[in-house]
Symmetry: C2
Subunit: 300 residues, 2 copies
C-alpha cells in the first residue's frame, strides 16, 4: 500500500498524543488511569483519528490543528467499546485480542473508565489551540456521540434486537438496519471527517463533501464488519465472531445475503470516493481513498 508510511506516521502521532493525554499525575486514582490506558493504548487501528488528520490535511494542508479532535474521537470510540462489552450489554470477554476492560479490572472500574474517556474527550477538544473552533467541534462531537447518533443507534441495537430480527417486512428491516448503523457506527466516522474540516476552518462545501464521504465510508465499514462476524477469523479480529447471529441481531448478510452485502459495500466505497472529487490530489487524499478501498478486503 503506497500510503502506508504516511498512515504509520499519523498513527504514531496519535498514539503519542493519546499516551500524553492519559499520563495522569498521581492525583488521579492509579487503577482508573490503568484501566483507561489499558483500553485506549493497546493497539487498535486508529481508523477514526487517522481519518480526522487526513481530512484536515485534505481540506487545509496541515493535520496538526486536528490532533486534539482526533484523540477525542478515539477516546469516545474506546469508551463506547468498554461500555458495549459490559455484561449487561454485549457481554464480551475479548477485545483487540485481550480481556475486555471489565474482565481485567471489574465492572465498576470499567464503567468509570468509560465515563472518564467520554468526559476527557470533551476536555481534549476544549483545549484545541484555535479558540474559534473549540465550541463547533464540541458540538459536532456531542451530536455524533449522543442520543441522535451513537447512543441512539446502540440503544436500538442492544435493546431492540429481540423485537426487530423477525416479523416485520424485509424492506422495513433493511431501512431500520441502515438507520441503526448510520447512528451506531456511521455518526462517529462521519464526525471524524467533519472534525478534520472544522479544525482547519474548512468552508461549507468542503465540510459537506467530507461528511458525505464519511457517511458512505461508515456504511461500507459496518457492512464489512457484519460480513467479518460471519466469515472472519477470531484470531485476526481479536474479538469473538458469530455473536450477531447468536444474539439474533439484524445484519446486512442476514438480510441481503453475503454477495449482495459485498456489492452494497463496494457501491458505498465508490460513493465515498466520488465525494472527495472536490479536493485536489494530495498524499492525504490518496491515503483516504486507500483506506476506503481497503475496507472491501479487510480481514480485521
Amino acid at each position: 500500500m503506497e500510503s502506508s508510511n504516511y498512515l504509520e506516521t499519523l498513527r504514531t502521532v496519535i498514539n503519542a498524543q493519546l499516551d500524553r493525554l492519559t499520563d495522569y499525575p498521581a492525583a488521579v486514582p492509579p487503577r482508573l488511569k490503568e484501566a483507561v490506558r489499558y483500553s485506549l493504548l493497546q493497539g487498535g487501528k486508529r481508523l477514526r483519528p487517522i481519518l480526522t488528520l487526513a481530512a484536515a490535511e485534505m481540506a487545509g494542508g496541515d493535520p496538526a490543528p486536528a490532533i486534539p479532535a482526533a484523540c477525542a474521537l478515539e477516546m469516545i470510540h474506546t469508551y463506547s467499546l468498554i461500555h458495549d462489552d459490559l455484561p449487561a450489554m454485549d457481554n464480551d470477554d475479548l477485545r483487540r485480542g485481550k480481556p475486555t476492560c471489565h474482565i481485567k479490572f471489574g465492572e465498576a472500574t470499567a464503567i468509570l473508565a468509560g465515563d472518564a474517556l467520554l468526559t476527557e474527550a470533551f476536555a481534549a477538544v476544549a483545549r484545541t489551540a484555535d479558540e474559534a473552533v473549540r465550541a463547533p467541534m464540541a458540538a459536532a462531537l456531542a451530536e455524533a456521540a449522543g442520543v441522535f447518533g451513537m447512543i441512539g443507534g446502540q440503544t436500538d441495537d442492544v435493546i431492540g434486537e429481540k423485537n426487530l430480527s423477525g416479523g416485520s417486512p424485509s424492506d422495513g428491516r433493511i431501512a431500520l438496519l441502515r438507520s441503526i448503523h448510520r447512528r451506531k457506527t456511521g455518526a462517529l466516522i462521519t464526525c471524524a471527517f467533519r472534525l478534520g474540516g472544522l479544525a482547519v476552518s474548512a468552508g461549507k462545501d468542503e465540510l459537506n463533501a467530507l461528511a458525505a464521504c464519511g457517511e458512505a465510508f461508515g456504511l461500507a465499514f459496518q457492512i464489512t464488519d457484519d460480513l467479518l462476524d460471519v466469515t472472519g477469523s477470531e484470531q485476526l479480529l481479536g474479538k469473538r465472531v458469530g455473536k450477531d447471529a447468536a444474539l439474533g441481531k439484524l445484519t446486512f448478510p442476514g438480510l441481503l445475503g453475503i454477495d449482495e452485502s459485498r456489492a452494497e459495500a463496494a457501491r458505498q466505497v465508490e460513493a465515498g470516493r466520488r465525494a472527495l472529487d472536490l479536493f485536489a490530489e494530495s498524499r492525504a487524499k490518496s491515503a483516504v481513498i486507500e483506506i476506503l478501498e481497503s475496507t472491501l478486503t479487510r480481514k480485521s
Copy 2:
C-alpha cells in the same frame, strides 16, 4: 424562608428547560428517552443549577445566559447518580423515593441513559447563545466531571473503600476523605458557581470568589450528607440510609464524630458566606446564603 419564591422561580425555569431539552423527537429510541426523562425529571432539589443561575445573577445581574450550563450540570449530576446506583457500583434500588433507573429499565438502558445525559450535557453547553463562553464552559465542565474531579473521587470512593476505612492513621484518613469529597461532590458544586460566572463573563476576582464559595459549600454539603446517612430518615431522603457504614466507607461522622462533623460543616458554611463579600447585596446573593445556611439543618 424569604427567598423561597425566588428559588421556586429558578427551579421552574430549570425544570421547564430540562423538559424541553429531553423532549426528543421519534428518531431517538423511545425507551432511551423514557429512561433519561424518568431519572432527570422526577423531582430533585435542582441544587446545582439553581446555584449556577443565582451565581450568574450575583455576578452579572441576569441568570438567563446561564440556563444551558445550569441544565448541563443537572444532567451530569443525574448521569452520575444513574451510574453510581448500578449493581456493580453502589447497588442502590431507591433514588428520589422511586426505583433507580436500572431497576425500572434494566442495566443496559441505565448505562446508556447515563452515557446519553453526560454527552447531551456538553451538547447543551455548546449551544449557549454567547459563542465566546461556550468553550470555556465546556472545558470547566469536563474538568469538574472528569478524572481530576468527579470520576476520580468516585473511583476512590467506590474502588478504594475497602482499603481505606481501616489501618492508616486518622490524619491521613481525614485528608483522604476531604480529597474524595472535594472531587466526588465538591468539584461539580464548585463548577456550578463558576459556570454561573463564566456565563455572564465575570472577571477573575469574581470567578475566584464564586469558586471559593463553591468549594466551602461542597464540603459542607457532603459533611451533612454523611450525617444524614447516619441520622436521617429514609422516607424524607428518598434513598437508603446506613449504606456508608454497611459498605465500610470513610465518612466525616465516622472519623470525627457527629458533633465535630456538625461544627466543621458550620465552619465551611461561614467560609462560603465570607467568600461572597465581594458581591453587592442582591436577591440572588441572599438566596445563595440561605441555601448555604440551610445545609446545616437539612433533612433531605
